[in-house]
Symmetry: C2
Amino acid sequence: MTTSLRMVVVGADAAGMSAAHQALRGAARRGRRIEVVVLERSQHTSYSACGLPYWVAGDVDGPARLLARSAAQHREMGVDLRMGATATGLDLDAGFVEYVDDAGGHRVDFDEVVLATGAAPIVPRWARDDRGALRPGVRPLKNLDDGAYWIDRFGGGRPGRAVVVGGGYVGLEMAEALLRRGWSTTLITRSRVMNTLDEDMSTRIEPALAEAGVEVVSETTAVALECRGAAGATVVATADGRTYAADAVVLATGVEPVSELGAAAGLPLGKSGGYLPDPAGRLAAGVWAAGDCCESLHRVTGEYVFFPLGTHANKQGRVVGENISGGSATFGGVLGTAVTRFAAGGAHVEVAHTGLSSAEAETAGLRTAGLVTEGRTASGYMPQARPIATKVLAERGTRRLLGMQIVGGQGAGKRIDTAAAALWGRLTVDDLAQMDLAYAPPFATVWEAVQLAARRLADRL
Amino acid sequence: MTTSLRMVVVGADAAGMSAAHQALRGAARRGRRIEVVVLERSQHTSYSACGLPYWVAGDVDGPARLLARSAAQHREMGVDLRMGATATGLDLDAGFVEYVDDAGGHRVDFDEVVLATGAAPIVPRWARDDRGALRPGVRPLKNLDDGAYWIDRFGGGRPGRAVVVGGGYVGLEMAEALLRRGWSTTLITRSRVMNTLDEDMSTRIEPALAEAGVEVVSETTAVALECRGAAGATVVATADGRTYAADAVVLATGVEPVSELGAAAGLPLGKSGGYLPDPAGRLAAGVWAAGDCCESLHRVTGEYVFFPLGTHANKQGRVVGENISGGSATFGGVLGTAVTRFAAGGAHVEVAHTGLSSAEAETAGLRTAGLVTEGRTASGYMPQARPIATKVLAERGTRRLLGMQIVGGQGAGKRIDTAAAALWGRLTVDDLAQMDLAYAPPFATVWEAVQLAARRLADRL
């Protein structure tokens, strides 16, 4: 080929840059010519958002360590990366993107366009002032600028009182970071900590937080921010009428897809507001999407779901880049696999899940059976042994494995991958109970914890 | 039913006692009557053989901690357990077992017999005196008596010089135990340490042993034991003419199935000398076998292999007990999954494998591709990050996953279970590359190490 294809990517984080580089690699492999333009509105590219809490906690030296690649490195690898470039318009018929940067407005034509605009933190109204700006001392933790803000606040000086709003992954991780920084920490969550787990599992998490000294306020929402007293101390008020003094308020209230650009161009959106790519990553002819601005097909239910995670962003970006460069790749879907931990103040709890929870299975109309089994991460006589609670969920009749949830001590969390692999292969709970997993006393019990759980459920099905 | 079935089990360790209890449970569930007689030649039952090195190392307080259940507990649960009872004859036609105990010779009739006689350590000729007894200071580590012997030797007093003969799991674990006890340790192995792994993986283990202070002597065999000098110091001589002074010699030279009883009764044996049960655990009508005295069907090759492991013994025993009590269970086969570690003297290396090695795949006549990939156990910027080398093996053409090997730091080993689950489900290397595995910075890289390895191999297939 002598003509060159132009691919324009909007967003230079995991999904966008995976797409960009895979397209370059794929084109090179196939002897095709491709020009890759990437528009990024911020001054950062390819950073680990998941690493931000650990930067704030002090595990990570500085923001440079969180960068997978610099803008200069991307450019050296052949990407026409335009930083500080905010896409403002998308014309799918004429095939161009409009954007603005410091130099003014621009337009770039494309043969293929990839929407990789990510997700943005959900900011409650009470966290903003009348002009819509975040109020002082209140901020989410989504990007490197947020990280720098919180490092400045928590990284030195006299520890104060912090309120974390939100009991999901980021809330839990920031509670760890704050405790490790010596701050008095209150966590407010509208239902319970880690409510993506069924209640019979999530209730096992709070004792670890309490043990470490976190004040957990559950089943209520933060509704207002007040300034009180002569010193103007900030107070967070909750729906049940209580107040919590705070020198800093971390918003961990989730994210939502950034999809205005495509929505304005007439692209359909899902319930969450995310794009709905097919397994090839395609939205329409020549139009693609990847990463946190998308919903993904759930491999168990076949429904679109919103699981904004770097692991999917990387894979989806790769699939899109491969397809644009002439390949034929598909994204196999998501299982909702996730893991985190809370490790501070002598407590260490790991939390993981994959597949459906009981609540999700019920919504999907599946006839299920679930069981929580208590086990150990290592042989009971070993010093490494920690408790691990495993909930297994299977479909009645087909005996198909539907999901697993884990709450346990050190070494518990990553065992979820065994269930994720079994779910990926559409295996039964009997398969999981029977499979040949690794055993040695420092690593597992002779009936591995996840397998013991599967066996017990299999016996009851 | 009013008539009672009598089941006689020979051997009261994992396989035998799993069979016994499952038969009792299954019969109770089905309203059947069953009488379970178990013959055990030793004075111990249901102990964790895998825990012995950790007892010697000092992790485990005493032998009682290694016992899953005492003889009294088994009896309370309804098992007619006869200790110190050595089976001497098996008549399959007439249906009885002959045995001797302190009171003399006995005979017990059966409707169903389960052979669960385990495996015995392979003891080289040079380790025995003219009358066949183990020479002083030389002993394997297979049962609780061996453990007590070595605890007496290593658990106190002035540390000396130990030679471990054998570089497999027990050899590695005993090298750890000896170092942790302060002994100067030499490990002699006929090929290389952990030669169940391919050489491009196993060579990654020796540096950790050397770093910790173990003298590794590879590619030679111990051939003689000599007493030298006035003090009568023991010296181990190797085939290449070198000698190694030793105050203690630990034999870690593997085990072989104990199958004389069935062999004498005309039951066929495999290449290793083990019984060859079908997936139901049956050798012949009314005759069953389970555990380390058996070969097992390999799930990848379909061939009988000898993998004496407690995990299989427990599952196989359960299958046999279920079938004898009127159920219909099968053992799904083995993958050869195993994990161990060497953690002493500042070194920590974890070693794991599942499925076929390159050498095994070649023997099986498979067209394979393999690749070693270097990764990290956690995000590179996290303090938990340790190196992990992952070798993935897949079949050309079908792209079927065939095996995985892992050598890495803390947290590396148990990741093998993800590959084991994928192998169990007969998934492809592409499945492993694409599946939704758990990520958070303290637990993994965003492309999980085992998945990165699979993806790289998939790209090359």
